[in-house]
Symmetry: C2
Subunit: 406 residues, 2 copies
């Protein structure tokens, strides 16, 4: 059992327009919450991996791991904490989770029970929304030169999906209704209010057929998760969950280089490997936090993660979520490969918020709390297995993790 | 011997104002050179770590590992190469070297002989020099808000050094003379011309006492190094050198938070650990590529790396390098802890060039070629042990590696 990885503490700031806090204060807040939750001290951390997409473009600061070391860890006398920043656009947090997981495993193989913190943050709202949208296009292929924005890129995917299937545009709007409903039970959410299907359907077209209420917003926030070996977690008496696997996979950054734009090959491969190495299947998953930067992205994710055959999930979305305005959160999907799957109980990127570098870690925080039975009004009864799914760009990178109640 | 790491191939573009090449073409050029040098194919690579400080601010593009995957690796049919970007300002390359080294070791511990490529690049000259200088200040503590530039920060260190010792400003100018002399023998160098001591002494004051010819310039370039286990290197019949250790250490990002600004604690600790774990000492080192972004930085590095007691190296610089205009390159130092040390035979950051994210890898390329006896006119006879030293900011991060001829 010495080579199992355990998440022993998590932290998560409020997501939103947090103009009264600096980025480093947000990282500190999430990090200290995670330390407190784990019941350990700063100096117990061996290393941290920090996911951030672009504080350079958002705030003119790089070398953030050194700054975090200075502000948070250096005071701790002889502490020799190491800090490294990882960047993979909106999957930066997921890649920090992956690097941390790999580091714990590598330590375990040489008999060293390391304690690693995975952190992620973004500070986006200091820029006006149009500038922030331009900065985010740096995650796509030559976004600056080609002038594509992500609402447009995902709009193209939605258009194509509608062309290739019998789905109608408004089928996807149910997803936003469900996510807002879930977010209304999440005190950390950026948009903790409910929306009706009509409201989503009639919302402003940002880049048709992507509408405002199909889209995640611009947000500030940070999240942190501390992990070590299960052996060490037991020694520490932690209230832990097992991190069974974290797999990050690359694909072409540009949509036009893909054989089938409606398949995110990176997601598909990452999921396949994660299921294989953990021995789990889509049917085993009780809760999933998936990368719903736009409504169509949640639909595609459900297919690529194996919960539905390709080009069929829209039927199940319609069936599961029609009229969900009147149901109580959290609201499950019924899917062909999973009879009751709770997706984005946190509210997801759509309604909890998407400070991009934080997202991959924030997803792991939500799933950890669900598996510990501490998700409050969002709690999925008896949740035993959880999945996170974090995408960079429109699938140039995808990271899938599987977590399990011990 | 299965856990020794071997560098089996290296690549290095010309450094300079390369306006006719895109950043991804530079990365491809260095990467393909390294593959050819190693005698392996793209698909043999398991993973690459890409060091880059800020293509976001320099060129509006993030998610660079995905782009490199798309352009270089994806064509290779079923290749499952993974790409990750690491950022630690000017030490991004060194951190990619460290991540690659750790990944080979981790694989070896679980019986997997991975082949990893460490790459680094920067594309800086598309911006005017004043804008590039501002972008680089993102590596310092709140550089944007405080208005510090690196010529100014290192100027403060030089001033302080002169105040605390009997060194004179012009003592440091010998370093630039030596580095340009070395660069004149390096076909990849940005500034492959010689300069006299008088010319350095009388050059324009960029941020007094930092003069133009004490400073590295703004450059484009990329470098790559492929590594695996020594066992695998032997199987492949590679002409390899051993990478004994790579250690990256953090310190406070701001100078004012340090007990003694004239000691880069990150360099000192990284060197100490690298020497300890490899069993090597400063006296064993034949060639060293150190982070001479400014002349004072090379002097401080020689002290912090253990080649001279603190605050004394200026005497040895004066003694070793006075009148070196008239000597043949490469020109060694005589130092109290190393009787003949060749430093920055490549020309260093000063004269070979400093495309910041490439530097940490480029240093390893130079040392590898020296240890293989392939450094041409710059060859240090009988070089057996080499060191690289790569700094982020003004010491918020430092990475030290030790290499050895097998």
């Amino acid at each position: 059992m010495g080579e199992n990885v355990a998440v022993i503490g998590v932290g998560h700031t409020e997501f939103g327009e947090l103009w009264d806090k600096s980025w480093v204060e947000l990282v500190e807040e999430a990090g200290l919450q995670a330390l407190q939750d784990a019941g350990i001290m700063k100096g117990d951390i061996d290393k941290f991996f920090l996911g951030n997409m672009s504080l350079g473009m958002f705030g003119g600061q790089e070398h953030t791991a050194s700054k975090v070391f200075s502000e948070i860890f250096k005071g701790d006398a002889e502490s020799e904490v190491l800090g490294r920043r990882i960047e993979g656009a909106c999957s930066s947090g997921g890649l920090a989770l992956e690097a941390s997981f790999n580091d714990v495993l590598a330590g375990a193989h040489s008999g060293d029970d390391k304690i690693i913190m995975a952190g992620g943050f973004e500070k986006m709202t200091d820029k006006p929304t149009d500038q922030a949208t331009k900065i985010l296009s740096a995650a796509s292929d030559m976004g600056k030169e080609l002038g594509f924005t992500f609402p447009a890129l995902y709009g193209m995917l939605k258009d194509r999906y509608i062309q290739e299937t019998d789905a109608e545009e408004e089928d996807f709007d149910h997803i936003a209704v469900k996510s807002h409903k879930n977010a209304s039970k999440n005190p950390r959410a950026q948009y903790p209010f409910e929306v009706t299907h009509d409201k989503v359907k009639n919302s402003f077209r940002v880049a048709s057929p992507t509408k405002l209420l199909n889209s995640s917003g611009i947000a500030d926030g940070a999240a942190a998760a501390i992990m070590t070996t299960e052996k060490k977690a037991k020694e520490l008496g932690s209230n832990y969950v097992l991190l069974e696997e974290v797999v990050g996979v690359n694909d072409s950054i540009a949509l036009f280089e893909r054989e089938d734009v409606l398949t995110l090959v990176s997601t598909k491969k990452a999921a396949k490997r994660a299921y294989k190495s953990s021995g789990l299947t889509p049917a085993d998953v009780d809760v999933a936090e998936v990368h719903d930067c736009f409504s169509i992205a949640e639909a595609l994710a459900l297919e690529d993660l194996g919960f539905s055959p390709k080009k069929e999930v829209w039927k199940w979305i319609k069936k599961s979520l029609s009229g969900c305005e009147d149901k109580e959160a959290p609201i499950p999907y019924e899917l062909p490969n999973n009879s009751e799957l709770y997706v984005n109980t946190s509210g997801g990127l759509k309604a909890k918020g998407h400070p991009v570098g934080a997202t991959g870690i924030a997803q792991a925080v939500e799933v950890t709390e669900q598996l510990r039975g501490e998700a409050g009004e969002r709690q999925v009864p008896g949740a035993k297995v959880g999945l996170t799914h974090n995408v960079g760009g429109s699938g140039g990178t995808a990271v899938v993790s599987l977590l399990r109640k011990p």
